[in-house]
C-alpha cells in the first residue's frame, strides 16, 4: 500500500493532476440540485458509449458500397460480441437523441439559458443539431436497401433548396447518382467530422458550465437581473454551496449508469434493427422508413399540402434552428420558474404534441399503399361465382385494395369500402371510379366496360343488409 501511495504521490506531483482536477471536481454548486439536473451528463455518457462502441464497430466495418452490407452481416451474426455492440450503438444513439431533447427542454423550461448562460444554450443548440445529423448518418451506414433509398430521399429534399439545390444534392450523393464515393463520405462525416465538432462543442459547453456555475433551481418570484445576478450567485455559493463531487455528482453517476445498463439490456434483449435487403437500387420492392427518431418528420413530409411542400422542407428546419438560436437573445432576464412562464410551458407542450401526433401518423403511415394485401377471401366476397366474384378479383388486381379496406383487408389511403353500398349508389361509384378524386387515380381508359360492371356488381354487395 505504501508503495502505491508513494507512486501516486510522485505521479500527482509530476503531472499536477489533483491540483488541476481537484478544484474542478469540488467546485461549489448550488444546493438542492435535483434529479432533473442529470440529463446533460447522461447525454455525455451516451456519447462516450457511442465513441467506444463506434471504435469497436469500425474494427470490422468496411465503408465501401460493395462491402459494407456484408461487413454488417458479419458484425451482426458472426463476430463475437458483434450483435451486442451494434445493439448498444443503436440504443445509445436512441438514448442520446432522447436525452439531449430532455436536457434541452429542461434548461428551457427552467430558464437556465438566461443571463449569464446564453452561450451555454447556444453551444447546446449546436450540439443538438449535430446529434440529429450524426444519428441520421449512422442509419445510412447500415447500407441496406433502406439506407440506399434514404440517401435518395435526402438528395431530393436538399434538391428543393432554391438556386443551389441541385449542387447540394450532388454534394450529398458525391456524384450524379449513388456510387463508390457516396458511402465513404457519409462514413467520414459520421466518424470524423461530426464527432470532432461534438468534442469541441462539449469542451466549450463544459467550460461554460464551470465558468458560470450550474444554474440554481428556479424559484418563482426571484427573477434574473443581469446587474445583480453574478454577485448574488457568488454570495449564495459562499453561503450554502456544496462541492460538486460528490454532493451533486452522485446523481449524475447513478442516473448515467442506470441509462448505460438499460442500453446494454435493450441491446441484449432487442438487438439492433434487423438489416433490410441488400443495397441494390434495382430491387424496387423497397419500403424505406427512417429510424424512430425521424419517423415524425417522415409523417410530416407525407401530410403537408403539396403547395406548401418546398417551403416546408427548406424553411421549417431553418426556422426551427433560428428560433432555438434566438431564444437567449429574446429573453435573457426575468422569471426563470416555469410556474411564471406559461408561454414557455405551452410552447414545449405544443412541440411535444406535434411530434407525438406526427410520430403516430408516421408509424401508421396510412397514406402508403398496402402492396401486400391478399386477394379478398371467399368468406368476404360471399358469392359463388359470376360478376361478383370477378369484381372482387378486380378489386385486388386493379390496385383498389392497395388503398381501400374491405373487411379489414387492404390499404388505408382511401375510404373504407366495407359498406360502400350504404353510402353510394352504383352510378356514384361508377362516376368515382372513372373520374378519380383528390387522391384517387381516374380509371377511365384503364378498365373495360365489362370489368367496370363486374367491379360495380361486387361493390353493390358491400352493404350492411
Amino acid at each position: 500500500m505504501r508503495i502505491l501511495r508513494r507512486a501516486w504521490e510522485a505521479f500527482d506531483d509530476r503531472t499536477g493532476l489533483s491540483k488541476a482536477m481537484g478544484p474542478v471536481l469540488r467546485h461549489p454548486v448550488p444546493p438542492n440540485s435535483r434529479w432533473y439536473y442529470v440529463f446533460g451528463s447522461a447525454t455525455l455518457f451516451a456519447f462516450l458509449v457511442q465513441v467506444v462502441t463506434g471504435i469497436a464497430l469500425a474494427l470490422a466495418y468496411i465503408p465501401s458500397t460493395n462491402d459494407a452490407y456484408q461487413t454488417l452481416q458479419f458484425i451482426s451474426t458472426q463476430a463475437p460480441f458483434g450483435r451486442v455492440l451494434r445493439g448498444i450503438h443503436y440504443w445509445a444513439a436512441s438514448a442520446m437523441v432522447l436525452l439531449i431533447g430532455l436536457h434541452m427542454a429542461r434548461t428551457f423550461l427552467m430558464g437556465a439559458y438566461k443571463y449569464p448562460r446564453e452561450a451555454n444554450w447556444l453551444t447546446g443548440v449546436v450540439l443538438f443539431m449535430v446529434t440529429i445529423v450524426i444519428a441520421f448518418t449512422g442509419q445510412l451506414l447500415r447500407w441496406d436497401q433502406t439506407a440506399v433509398w434514404t440517401v435518395a430521399v435526402v438528395a431530393e429534399q436538399v434538391g428543393r433548396i432554391p438556386a443551389i439545390g441541385g449542387a447540394v444534392a450532388h454534394f450529398v450523393l458525391a456524384g450524379d447518382t449513388w456510387g463508390g464515393q457516396t458511402l465513404s463520405r457519409f462514413f467520414a462525416f459520421h466518424v470524423f467530422f461530426i464527432p470532432a465538432i461534438i468534442f469541441v462543442f462539449i469542451a466549450i459547453h463544459l467550460w461554460l458550465v464551470l465558468h458560470h456555475g450550474i444554474s440554481e433551481p428556479p424559484q418563482a418570484g426571484r427573477p434574473v437581473d443581469p446587474t445583480t445576478y453574478r454577485a448574488w450567485y457568488q454570495a449564495m455559493l459562499e453561503r450554502e454551496g456544496e462541492p460538486f463531487w460528490p454532493d451533486a455528482a452522485w446523481r449524475d453517476i447513478v442516473f448515467g449508469v442506470c441509462m448505460v445498463t438499460a442500453v446494454v439490456l435493450a441491446a441484449l434483449v432487442f438487438g439492433a434493427p434487423a438489416l433490410d435487403k441488400p443495397p441494390d437500387p434495382t430491387v424496387l420492392s423497397a419500403d424505406p422508413r427512417p429510424d424512430w427518431y425521424l419517423l415524425w418528420y417522415f409523417g410530416a413530409l407525407a401530410l403537408i399540402p403539396p403547395a406548401l411542400e418546398n417551403a416546408f422542407m427548406i424553411i421549417s428546419p431553418l426556422v426551427a434552428g433560428v428560433v432555438l438560436l434566438l431564444i437567449p437573445f429574446v429573453s435573457n432576464r426575468g422569471e426563470r420558474s416555469p410556474s411564471r412562464r406559461p408561454w414557455a410551458v405551452g410552447s414545449v407542450l405544443v412541440v411535444c404534441m406535434m411530434i407525438a401526433t406526427l410520430w403516430v401518423a408516421g408509424a401508421e403511415s396510412p397514406w402508403s399503399p398496402n402492396f401486400d394485401a391478399p386477394p379478398l377471401p371467399a368468406a368476404v366476397v360471399a358469392a359463388s361465382g359470376g360478376p361478383v366474384v370477378a369484381g372482387a378479383a378486380l378489386f385486388h388486381d386493379k390496385g383498389c385494395e392497395a388503398c381501400h379496406t374491405i373487411a379489414g383487408l387492404g390499404g388505408q389511403r382511401g375510404p373504407d369500402l366495407t359498406y360502400v353500398a350504404d353510402r353510394l349508389s352504383p352510378a356514384e361509384m361508377t362516376w368515382r371510379i372513372l373520374n378519380g378524386g383528390t387522391n384517387m387515380p381516374a380509371f377511365a381508359g384503364n378498365i373495360t366496360t365489362e370489368q367496370l360492371d363486374q367491379l360495380i356488381a361486387f361493390l353493390k354487395t358491400r352493404a350492411r343488409h
Binding site: W149, A152, V153, E309
Partner: protein, 175 residues
C-alpha cells in the same frame, strides 16, 4: 498594467514598428499560411464531386424482342463510369414501356416527390410509391398523391435490335 516580460525598452524597433507587434503579425500570417496550404487541398477534396462530370453512355438493356408491346418491365443497367468498389450500387433500374414496334419509353424509378422507388402494378396500369403514397398513370403522369411532376424519362433508342438507355443523373426535383 505592468509588462511582466521586461520594459518597453525591449519592445522598440527601427522605423516605428514595435518588435512585439511585428512578431505577432508574422506569427498570425505564418499560421494562416500553414492552415491554407493544408486546408485548400482538404476543401478541394471535400467539394470535388461538385466539379466531376460523367459522360452519359448508352447501355443495352436487352433485345427489343424481349419486350412485348403494351407492357412495362423493369430493366437494369450499369451507371456511366462506376468505381471498381461501387458494387451493386453502380446499377440503376428503369421501367421500360413498349408502346409500339420502335416506341419505347424508359421511366425513372424515382418518385418525383422524394425519390423512393415506384412499383409498377401491371393489372392496375399504375405506378405506386411506397413512401408517401404517390401514384402515376402508365404514361408517367401524376394520378394521385404528393408528386409535383410526372415520372422523368431516360433517353432510349433501339440499335441493332438492342434497346439502349442513356445513363442519366439521379433525377432530382429542384425548386
Amino acid at each position: 498594467m505592468t509588462d511582466p516580460c521586461g520594459g518597453a525598452a525591449r519592445d522598440e524597433g527601427p522605423g516605428g514598428v514595435r518588435r512585439r507587434e511585428f512578431l505577432t503579425r508574422v506569427s498570425v500570417a505564418l499560421s494562416l499560411w500553414g492552415a491554407a496550404i493544408v486546408g485548400i487541398p482538404f476543401v478541394g477534396f471535400l467539394v470535388a464531386p461538385l466539379f466531376e462530370t460523367t459522360e452519359p453512355v448508352w447501355r443495352p438493356v436487352g433485345p427489343a424482342t424481349a419486350f412485348r408491346v403494351g407492357t412495362t418491365t423493369e430493366v437494369a443497367f450499369a451507371d456511366s463510369s462506376p468505381l471498381p468498389w461501387a458494387g451493386v450500387v453502380a446499377r440503376t433500374a428503369a421501367w421500360l414501356r413498349r408502346d409500339g414496334d420502335d416506341a419505347f419509353i424508359a421511366y425513372s424509378v424515382n418518385c418525383t416527390h422524394l425519390g423512393c422507388p415506384v412499383r409498377w402494378l401491371p393489372d392496375a396500369n399504375l405506378f405506386m410509391c411506397p413512401c408517401h403514397g404517390g401514384v402515376y398513370y402508365g404514361d408517367g403522369t401524376v394520378a394521385a398523391g404528393p408528386p409535383p411532376r410526372p415520372l422523368p424519362r431516360y433517353p432510349v433508342r433501339v440499335r441493332d435490335g438492342q434497346v439502349e438507355i442513356l445513363t442519366s443523373p439521379l433525377p432530382i426535383t429542384t425548386d
